[in-house]
Symmetry: C2
Subunit: 480 residues, 2 copies
């Protein structure tokens, strides 16, 4: 390979150019997530060689101001010094308020469907990020291809093309999965319920992360299950040492963990800890339900692995869906229930007979034609940018003692406010300004996390969003 | 109104023509369900006046050989003397065989999806009766009309257009229902589960009909509920006197009845008994879950009423779907849960978040454009004809001691065979001939009804079906 010959004079140039960029970033002219010129464009614009442009970017990258994203170019990244602190996860329950968590959840949900609300509470993709026309096309093609236009029941295990595609994509997380291992469901929640029902009886105890998605608590209650909350470390996911200790005294029947970008903390469990968890639970003969609904939403270079990929005994039941990646309204999910597959199949048969045929077939078609992969590349880039922009705006407009999570995937930021703040009260104040946020209380069974809020960055960052975050910041400031 | 003047000579004619038809019916040249010539065509063909043709048909109608169907013309009907006896419903459990009903259900289900099987076991409409092209059109229109192409979550209560249409159609069964009273679900089974969960805890007892749809038992087991079986009278539906007596000693928490064309008996509960049932249960403060999934499939002139139409206290929870009328694969159902609506809504939210958006929207569009009403008129006619033809074939080809139900709606015939017959054994023998039937054992918890089979008449009556029934008849004959 011929390296370009470097002109000595240009050797100073790259540093000057890097300096100018640095100043622009520091003074917020270039904002987090902004895309920089391509090497070629920069070289042309500044009359420098491509190699000089490259050296300037490497310099900025080394300093942590920008980052290269594969096949996308260079983007402004936060300098570590600009980051707010990470939120601390409380291990002990604070004195619970006379909190009716259920009531809070209902209230938060009701606001979600109101018109004219800035929805920072919804952890799913913005409609703007969905390739609607292509999905409609996939639906039309699927109806045309189907023998009876998708009017008849699916086979019990689910659409075979969809199952093949899911099995194919499992390759990305090191999965050795065949279509026979997969059962489709109506969204991830149904998959979780079938897996829970497959291995529990009412009265059993389930270990879950804390904080976690509030829907989980309701399902537990509805199934008559007890909950053991395991703290989550933002860098390592569920605290395995804590779990191991708890298992000595508490008869946990099954664990339900979101190992990739758990909601609301956004923690990603590292591979070695996934392996450790799978091993521990296999030894104790406790099944693991792995909710991998955010696993495809990674910002890094590769798809994070799953616990399922370390499972040699069929003890891990992976659940997922396209609700966070493609179309929540389609209600297309699945599980890979390992050795519990017969039980799950029989639950599916008795509870829903079969999943909806047209939506499954449309998603299968969308996968099969390669549209899914293309869409995922786009949406991951968009979300990464949005994530950085939201963090920057919160940093800029919230009080200095605010702490924000730094997720490497998913849809949400977990924001720790001054302990004086009651997040549900803040939610009510924000609703008066037509802004919907998720108060921390709804992420635990006893209304803990009362000074935390969850902010979704699913919506593209616009002036309207920025104004919303400015307003929110003011509400927090005015609180004390 | 000017009545036509009747020529005396023609007065003899009508009787002669009626006689000729009678002979043709007796000798099976005209078969049950065959359509007769229109009055105009008959008058033309025979060179008689329309009024003479009319008199001939009235004569045949009075004798019970033919029947007039509104807006459809005249059809060959069975003469009552040709009917086999009605099956007797056993009140007491026979000595149960070492029967694993679950295993039987699984086996029957597995055969349903096999290729090349004559499926007389499936109680749903034949794909041949579904207006697929029009439904596809409705889907395309619905996607186009939807703000985000149906990719987003529905509002929790369900598609508003669909709910309005369901409310409108409730008029046909004397219902005073608004769209606010309705919650959409993913098929009728999900509606039943939400209603059951809304009013029971594990360990509670539910009164159901016997025999009943086997799916019900599995759901009860899955929800940890106990079952009290109430006998069904083919002419009156669930035995209310029996229920009333049982309620004196057994703490029934809720009743779940299929009041219109219950599966497998096909009984239609008369209006006065529906009213009586609603009153009884309101007094005892026991909620009634009314599964009305077959209610639209009536062969008579008017839609049968529902218990819900007699309910003034919100004590009746009606459940239904389009799975038996339009598209089982769409999984579009609903419930009208009366005073339990908040509980049902919260169950829906926690279990499935929301029903699938595209299929609901497509069905809403299909209703709204009037296509549903047209389709229902067609499918009802087709099913009525099929019902009569199947009964005739069974009468012709099964042993003389066979008894067959005479449903006025629905999809199934309940056939009582000689007590020597083991229906599950017959099912296995039939499967060797690639014919799938539903053995009676799977319609009770303890494998009763072992000499009954359920035959679905959802498939249009063809030579293939007739041959299948001939083969079945032979298997029964060879059994003893």
């Amino acid at each position: 390979m011929n390296l370009p010959i470097i002109d000595i004079a240009e050797d100073f140039l790259y540093a000057r150019i890097a300096d100018r960029f640095e100043n622009q970033i520091a003074s917020n002219i270039l904002k987090t997530g902004d895309k920089l010129l391509s090497l070629r464009a920069l070289s042309k614009e500044q009359g420098i060689s491509v190699s000089t442009a490259y050296k300037a970017y490497v310099e900025l990258e080394n300093k942590g101001f920008i980052e290269a994203r594969p096949k996308s170019g260079y983007f402004v990244k936060f300098s570590p010094s600009q980051y707010p602190q990470l939120p601390v996860v409380s291990r002990k329950a604070k004195k619970a308020e006379p909190a009716d968590v259920d009531g809070m959840i209902t209230q938060v949900y009701q606001t979600m469907s109101k018109e004219g609300i800035l929805r920072l509470s919804l952890a799913s993709p913005s409609a703007k990020l969905i390739p609607e026309a292509k999905l409609n096309k996939a639906m039309a093609e699927a109806l045309r291809k189907s023998k009876h236009s998708c009017t008849q029941y699916e086979e019990i295990q689910g659409n075979p093309v969809l199952r093949k595609q899911i099995a194919k994509h499992a390759f990305n997380w090191n999965g050795q999965i065949s279509d026979h291992d997969i059962v489709t469901t109506q969204g991830c929640m149904e998959a979780l319920i079938f897996c829970l029902k497959a291995v529990t009886e009412p009265g059993d105890t389930v270990a879950i992360e804390s904080p976690t998605y509030f829907g989980i608590f309701n399902v537990m209650k509805s199934l008559g299950l007890k909950v053991l909350e395991i703290p989550v470390n933002p860098d390592e996911g569920a605290d395995i040492a804590y779990l191991e200790k708890a298992l000595e005294t508490i008869p946990v029947k099954v664990c339900l963990f979101v190992t990739n970008f758990c909601n609301p903390i956004g923690a990603l469990m590292p591979d070695h800890r996934k392996e450790q968890l799978v091993k521990l639970l296999a030894e104790k003969q406790i099944p693991l339900i792995e909710d991998d609904i955010y696993g495809e939403m990674y910002f890094g270079k590769t798809r994070p692995r799953t616990c399922k990929s370390f499972d040699h005994e069929g003890n891990v039941m992976l659940c997922s869906s396209v609700s966070k990646t493609l179309a929540p309204g389609y209600r297309v999910g699945w599980c890979i229930p390992g050795k519990y597959i017969d039980k799950v199949l029989s639950l599916k048969l008795m509870h829903t007979v079969s999943a909806a045929t047209p939506t499954q077939a449309a998603v299968a078609q969308f996968f099969e034609t390669g549209r899914y992969d293309l869409h995922m590349r786009n949406i991951r880039k968009a979300l990464h940018t949005q994530c950085l922009k939201y963090i920057q705006a919160i940093t800029a407009h919230f009080p200095a003692d605010t702490k924000v999570s730094r997720p490497n995937g998913g849809y949400v930021l977990w924001v720790e406010l001054n302990p004086i703040i009651n997040a549900f009260k803040l939610f009510e104040l924000a609703m008066e300004e037509n802004i919907s946020i998720a108060p921390g209380q709804i992420f635990s069974i006893d209304g803990r996390f009362s000074n935390y809020i969850r902010i979704s960055f699913g919506e593209p960052f616009t002036r309207e969003i920025e104004n919303g975050l400015i307003t929110l910041g003011k509400l927090v400031r005015n609180y004390y």
